[in-house]
Amino acid sequence: MSETMRNTALFGIVFALIILTGFMQSWNVALLIINMGLISAIMALGVNLQWGFAGLFNVGVMGFVALGGLAVVLTSAAPVEGAWSAGGWRIMIALLAGAGTIVGTVMVRQRMSAGRTRNLVTFALLMGGFFLYRGIFDPGVAAVEAINPALQGNFGGLNLPVLLAWPMGGLLAAGVAWLIGKTALGLRSDYLAIATLGIAEIIIAVMKNEDWLARGVKNVVGLDRPVPYEIDLQNSSSFINHAEGLGIDVATASSLFVKLNYAILFTAVLLVIFVMAQMALNSPWGRMMRAIRDNEVAAEAMGKHVTNRHLQIFVLGSAICGIAGAMMTTLDGQLTPGTYQPLRYTFLIWVMVIVGGSGNNLGAVLGGFLIWFLWVQVEPFGLWLMEFITSGLSEDSWLRDHLIKSAAHMRLLTMGVVLLLVLRFSPRGLIPEK
């Protein structure tokens, strides 16, 4: 079987599964899987860029996805009245002072010769800078968070169109990735993994606790949408006529219509990123990246600046994850920092890339859809399986009760098994790298 046929068949199977869901469960569920599958595919492309192209072991995907979500609030939400004058500028100055301290300390360190004096000066500068920063920062935060805390208590955003938030999400993630890459990319693969794991946790901790930024765990709800609201559609007479013409009831039709709109938008983004990733892969730049991945020493001997190239691709891949994160938050219509979990937002994406085929963009997209489909469908399927297994037990048996209740946790188990099976029997993934 030729490669094209094989790939088409694989995609065909995944979409057949999703369409089957449409017939068996509901088209709403099927469209939801497609939408999240599109977003997952974009995240997988980002990770594939880092891991597949360059061999960078980034397990901080969750952090960049969350930053994308944060960008949605900062870009599209309405500004909070009086927040800037109350303490906003103060916070900005404090943040600048904090950044200035770090930059200043680094510069002073470069000027001084190594020794105890330098260490003492570094310590003194950092401590002084920290207290200065907190001194300016804390009153500002208190002032901003005091504004209507039940509903606001934050800056709000710039009130720009929500579609603009997607590239903004990418930019924000890219900026943070640059900072991280500058410090952590020199590390060995294992260390980089632990470092990125930590950074993701820190980003989530910041988003949970800095209420002035995006209300922390109090969540921001009711974010703008790039598509019409269901309720408006249900009140529009032309829409009702169309729906009746198709023989679908209006409520279902409106919800399908909204999801379809999202699907079109997301597909457009996926296509753009996919084409770009594909072009990058086949360009001299892509070949250089793979050369670095396969043999860093040789690439360095050929005059390639390995750390700079790593930084470049780390920033690019993280930006893509940021864009996907922004799209996801837009789809949800809310930012809930409490729901970001590494298993779901970091390691699941990794499963997608490995299962799909690392180093192959098409593979990453396939993995995104397939694994997302499994992630959603394992739960009902697990429940069904458990009911089947325990059908011999009596209704009030505790084992039956426990098994059925625990069916929801089947998904983690399944993901692990899928990952291990693919690694063992098809280590290069479903669509291997050429």
């Binding site: 632990i194 470092a195 930590g198 901790a205 692990g416 990952l419």
Partner: protein, 336 residues
Amino acid sequence: MDFLNAIVALSNFVLIPAIAYGSQLALGALGVTLIYGILRFSNFAHGDTMAFGAMIAVGVTYLLQYWGVSFGPLPTALLALPFAILGTMALVLITDRVVYRFYRTQKAKPVILVIVSMGVMFIMNGLVRFIIGPNDRKFADGERFIISVREFKQMTGLREGLAIKTTQGITVVVAVIAVVLLFWFLNRTRTGKSMRAYSDNEDLALLSGINPERVVMYTWLIVAALATTAGVLYGLDKTFKPFVYFQLLLPIFASAIVGGLGSPIGAIAGGFVIAFSEVTITYAWKKVLKYMLPEQLEPSGLVQLLSTDYKFAVSFVILIVVLLFKPTGLFKGKSV
């Protein structure tokens, strides 16, 4: 008197919790470091191995309690610990046979093994949630305190009280016993010596007739025992919740790396470095400073450098600083 009060407050809120937490981290980090030294990869499933061990201990504790067995003033979980260790040993040996061994014979790159351990992490995490559910479980019983605040105040007449929880005492005692046993094993027994030889230089060890599969098996057995002990002690001291163990992965790795991956002494030192930094930086120092400073200088705020939610940031910053300035860790570790 004020000075004594300050010391007591410091011990109560910083020293004692940090020593207990440090012991737990050290036991966890020892497991990570052993795997790294012998099997040469960072085991992402370690947190979930701890959770699995603790889960068995919780189950057996409940069973013992149901049968009416108790351990007097000590928590029943200590009686359950051997069973939990045996259960975890079985689990990791099966995992090694079914999963890791294949890659070992292939001489796969360490990073592939890390990804494999991610898969194992998913499975173990799923198993634990499947069996016991994702919720909090308290399984500590027996006496709550070795010394309670009230007793201490009556005894000494100081204004500040000092409390030592039984679980904190047990944590330290058990950790010391575990570490002594481990070092005795590594330094005095034939198998322990072959493990160290294998860790130092694999080829040389193989040439001298050491059976690698045996070394690997003993490593897993020890790691299972350490992980379970760490998991049970952490669960007793705080509470058992599967997700928390997953999050412990970060400070544990930080401890192992700060100490120097592959170095057992380093893992212990690293555990305490991380624990003490986390606790001191997230502690509100007002109470201690109140006694130490003259009245005019008394701080108005809490003097808390960072809120407790940022404790990850602390372990992370220490990790980065150590890696940037001393890439092999405080005690010379190895790098694969």
